[in-house]
Amino acid sequence: MTAGKETWSRTWHLVNYKPGEGLAARVYLALGPEHLAKGYDLIAPLLRSRGLNHRHARDPEALRAADAHPTWAGKAVVIDIPPGVDAGQLAHEVDAALADRGLTGPSHLAGARPVGGKSGLVFVRRFGPAAEADDRRQRLAKLLGE
């Protein structure tokens, strides 16, 4: 995989492998500031091998400060999932990489739902029609008592 283009913003370190790629979903890692570095280290090889555009808080202080923002609070690592990639499957792979490592983080992220794996740190949000379908599935599952 070719190296991604790195950009720094006030909050983020952004790594873009494929600029201009569409966005079908986002996978979030809800890592606490103290586990940011360790958590990112665990999933970085996976992201690099798949060439997935992503961003992570540039340091624990930035992550702490971003907690004041209602939309971005707790979102330590954000992975952009392009169309054609199964966000659910990737979320479970990420979850498996983070499981049983003693990592902790917030249990709720705005606009995203937990994947519910072993780590409890991975959340998904879908965009576009897929998101509506996902919501419908969730409502149906709730009605059926699943």
Partner: protein
Amino acid sequence: MAIMALACTGDPLLDLLLAECCSFSLRQTSCETLAEALQEVEEQKPTLFFISPALCENRPVLNLKGVRVCYLLEGAAPDELDADVLAAERITPELVDAWVRCPARPAQGSTTSARPQTLPPSPRSAQIPPPPPLRPTGEPASPQGAPLTPPAQPRTQPMPASRPLAARANASRSRPEPIRPALSVLRQQVVTFWGGKPGAGRSTLAVALSDLLSRAGGIRVCTVDLNPWNSSLAALVGKEQEVPSWFHLSEALARGGSFPPDSLRWVKPNWAILSGPDGRPDWVQHLTSQAIIWLVDGLRTQFDYIILDPEARPGEVRETAARLAQTLLLTLAPDYPDVLDTTRSFEAGLEQGIIDRGRCRLVLNRWLETPHLPSTDVADCFGIPVSLTIPAAPDLVVGATSQGVPVTQLDSQAGRSLVQALGGLAGLVAEPLIGAAPERGGLLKGLFGR
């Protein structure tokens, strides 16, 4: 009516910073992506729309019609971005407010297509590295700190002094309204002088400080004469023959226009001054608190350091300058009444909340240590340490000022100790800059250790 703004920068800390700005009313959004941002713009129809590189694939937004889009960029310079770019090493609410108060760029297709004036490659910007990634990712380093594109003729060329004033003024009026350049400010800071009686050396020190900063490489400096009656700055840099800046400034203020770049008098390509009204009643009446804020806002978009030289007299000019400044240089001469008066006005300023000790640096100018007025006692009066002592050298200073050159450019053997002492001025307002070049022994050694 308040300007309505929408922020969807994709960067939470920038969004939070925008909430601190006072020139517009910010509508909070919960959008994370470009598609969501466009939907918000469609629904809310804001006047201003803030984005940043953290909102990936944001280029389609830059051409939105009916909304002024501001692209906030920290660190690296924009690469041929056809948008209003607010680029700074560190964006602050003041900088954003200044940008908002400036008129927008003309619409695309306009005949004026001046590209932003940017700085030459700055060794300092390269010295400020981006923070390292949490762990090495095996990927190339970020391009942050990349050199900016080369410039750089002064925005206004001085006109021949032989032309009559009215002709020169008409010539400047007939020029097309210059468009606001995209911002590219590295270290935006306002510095003001405070206290002392007339003749304590504030203007001389303002010129010396500006000269030092302008020689530090890649820094743009503007020195502003805020003395309504005894405006001496132009004479100190040999610009007294040029049209006073207040000719243009008072006209722009009277018609409620934007800051006129024609009012800048360029000493060097990266150092300009704004000369004072020099006692002309019709110009002096415009030198108000609002005018100073308007002036500084106009300059913020073009200069890294703005050095204000207000009058010594207490009043709205001095107070406004003190409120705007990040650093205040308390300048005193070895004169008991001067110390007493300045202490009183300093304490009054503290009580009124105009100044605070954290922003103040005590500078003893033309100092002659006497048993009756030791510098330690002076420091006790103000409750802050003496940051700099500049020895008295009246002959040298008079010699330099009469030639219209900054005292920091004295190259005689006799002037060496004075120049050495003055070198400390830059350190008072640009500490990070000094520390940025330890291998050269800092800026001071680089400039004066020869």
